[in-house]
Amino acid sequence: MTLLAAEGLNKRFGGVQAAKDVSFALDAGEMLAIIGPNGAGKSTTFNMVGGQLRPDSGRVSLAGQDITGLPPREVCRMGVGRTFQVAQTFLSFTVIGNVQMALIAHHGQTRKLLPDAMAMHRDAALALLDRVGMAAQAERPVGELAYGDVKRVELAIALAAAPRLLLMDEPTAGMAPAERSALMALVAGIARGERIGVLFTEHDMDAVFAHADRILVLVRGEIIARGRPEEVRADAEVQRVYLGHSGTRAATRARRAAHG
């Protein structure tokens, strides 16, 4: 069943058409990657889905419900978790405090004046941290963590809202290569295991070709190719404008490494 559907999204910034008639669909449990060169409109498309930007025209729907132009907090309440290109966490909180805060928000308890916030949802928060492999560091201030671990905490925060859809803007940006594949494997495992749809943008072709079920290629605001990884890799137009020949070889290698 279609979880997320974008139909005919357009966005223009002054003279630049950042997204032109962008349409795609995403099923539950599926990982869909948006790739393309810098300035192709990946983040614009992404932000139109997440509610940070309102499209000039077009429609975004989540499980059949129209979410076009809703602010991010409403989109979140509809069951969409989100991670950012530069990880956004609550720096003054501990690791577990970050997840507890997300759970408090998820349960609509942010206006409570009496209970001790840091005694709430501890077990649920620990369970979430366990899923991303961060339970052992629960009590550390999040500001002390290595960046790869911050990204994991951010994933746990996003999962706290029990999302049906995860939006991940360049999930592996700024991470070391070993951390990258571990994080992507973790995301893929969670997505498939819990039937969560994942829409992500990525510059790291290894990550994309190893884990995406389908790929959209965006160039100058338009989708120039779409399909399964091997189809996209074989596409002559994609090779010409984006991957290049060495990129194509890298994509083949990545696919082989992940799937034997």
Binding site: G50, P72, R73, V86, Q88, F90, A105, A117
Partner: protein, 617 residues
Amino acid sequence: MEWDFLLVQALSGLASASSLFVIASGLTIVFGVTRIVNFAHGSFYMLGAYIAVTIVPWLLEFDRSPWLFFVGVLASALAVGVLGVVMEVTLLRRIYRVPELFQLLATFGVVLIVQDLVLLVWGPVDITGPRAPGLRHGIFIFDQRFPAYELFLIFVGPAVLGLLWLLMHRTRFGVLIRAATQDREMVGALGVNQAMLFTGTLFLGAALAGLGGALQIPRVSANPQMDLSIIAEAFVVTVIGGMGSVPGAFLAALLIGQLQAFGVLVFPKITLVLVFLLMAVVLVIKPWGLLGKPEAAAGRAVLPEGIIDPRPLDRASQGLILVALAAVLALPLLDAYAVKVGTEVLILALAAFSLNFLVGNGGIVSFGHAAYFGLGAYGAGLLVTKAGLPMEPALLAAPLVAAAFAALFGFFVVRLSGIYLAMLTLAFAQIAYAVVFQWVEVTGGDNGLVGVWPSRWAASRETYHYLVAACCVLAIVALRRVVHAPFGATLRAARDSVQRADAIGVDVRTHRWLGFTLAGGAAGLAGGLYAFSKGSIDPTLLGIPMSVDFLSMLLLGGIQSVLGPIAGAAVFHAVKDFFMPLTDHWRLFLGLSIIGMVLVFPRGLAGAWAGLRRRPA
């Protein structure tokens, strides 16, 4: 109304717009390059006027020529420019990287120092300046007489705008100023000598303020209150125009000049309110002013300056609190003076605590918290003196009145962030101050209200002390509870990352608005208690210096700590109460202390306490 009268009114609006622009352009240029909102800009303006009333008459002794008059004005401007350089070299370059709140406080420290120095050098009496030779006559516009000097001023603004345009587009220095306004880090990365650029910018900015002040001497006499009255207006002009934008400042000055010129015909008493309302409307529609640009987002996440991770109290801190509580209870065993100071400290501790709920916990830097303190005091005072109610209902009403105004003002305030938010809170506080000051029939104006006494059962100083202690301690305990509760944590979360808070489903604006209202209500309770402790109230309770006192208590106590501001209030008030009668230079002392704390002691008493206990025994 005749149309020639309206024309003259419009012309006088243009003349004040011109003066306002000259001053505001300096403020906006300095902000654009250094990202510091310089409170001392008003002090430079005042110094320009004082220097001019000193040297211009001296020059005119040689020859009463218009040229010497303007030579004197320009020399005053240059002298003030040099003072700007002194300020940059000795203070500003040490605080470019500290949080905004500390920058604002440090430049306010300079304001206090200059106020006392001006009193030392020129004395407290207003000094009337000479009129400009050759421009003393009036010009008849139809049947209306219009002063020639005002007509001349109309042309000064556009002339300064033109010269600044030439400077910005035709000189290397000007190009660097524009570049730094757009992207300071990139200018640094390109190998530009930033120290020289910043020093030069301060020279230019201060000289413009000095020019603005010197040009005023034929119109207004130099007086020691000029600095704060002009700085509020200059802030409004730069904020409406967009901070860092010189054309924006020009546009905003024109708007405000006309608004004042015609507003005075319709609402003679509340022109100041009109000006601030214009600002509020502009900021709601265009949060970065008419021609301003949004602040570029910080590339790297940094730990916020404020309450980090509130923990349960440890043994030593619990002990300290018990000692403090015992002292509060035991004070009536000492003399009446100790009780008076103790009562005031409790009240101020609640006010400071409620401010830190916003600043330290929410990252909402309010520069006008005294407004809610004062409105609570006036709410209670008016109910007692005008409505004849007893103390008890008046004390209940005080937090409600203050919370209602905090909700009203906060509705606009929470739409902004950072420095714009601070400016708007200041503006609203000034509105409240102006209304209380000018609405003489109700508020008693400058004289305030007298006869705000407690009910008979609480009339003795000691009983009232215990009443205050009960109210303040309960309120502080409750607010502290909220800091630890989900609501307080949500405000901290939104302070750390608005984007993240939004993405987990938090309505950041509404939570901030509720927080602002709650803190305003708590400050109002403190204000109500204060009114009854004094028996009288006056507009200084809402003034900028009162807001700065509260912020100084936070700074002294440490804004990173939940309970620090209480210690800050105690020490600040005790020191002030002890020293103020002993010295004529309290402001000099306070100003130097604020700057000293910002430079060497930014974590305050709580930071020192934490450091003490971390040290191995």
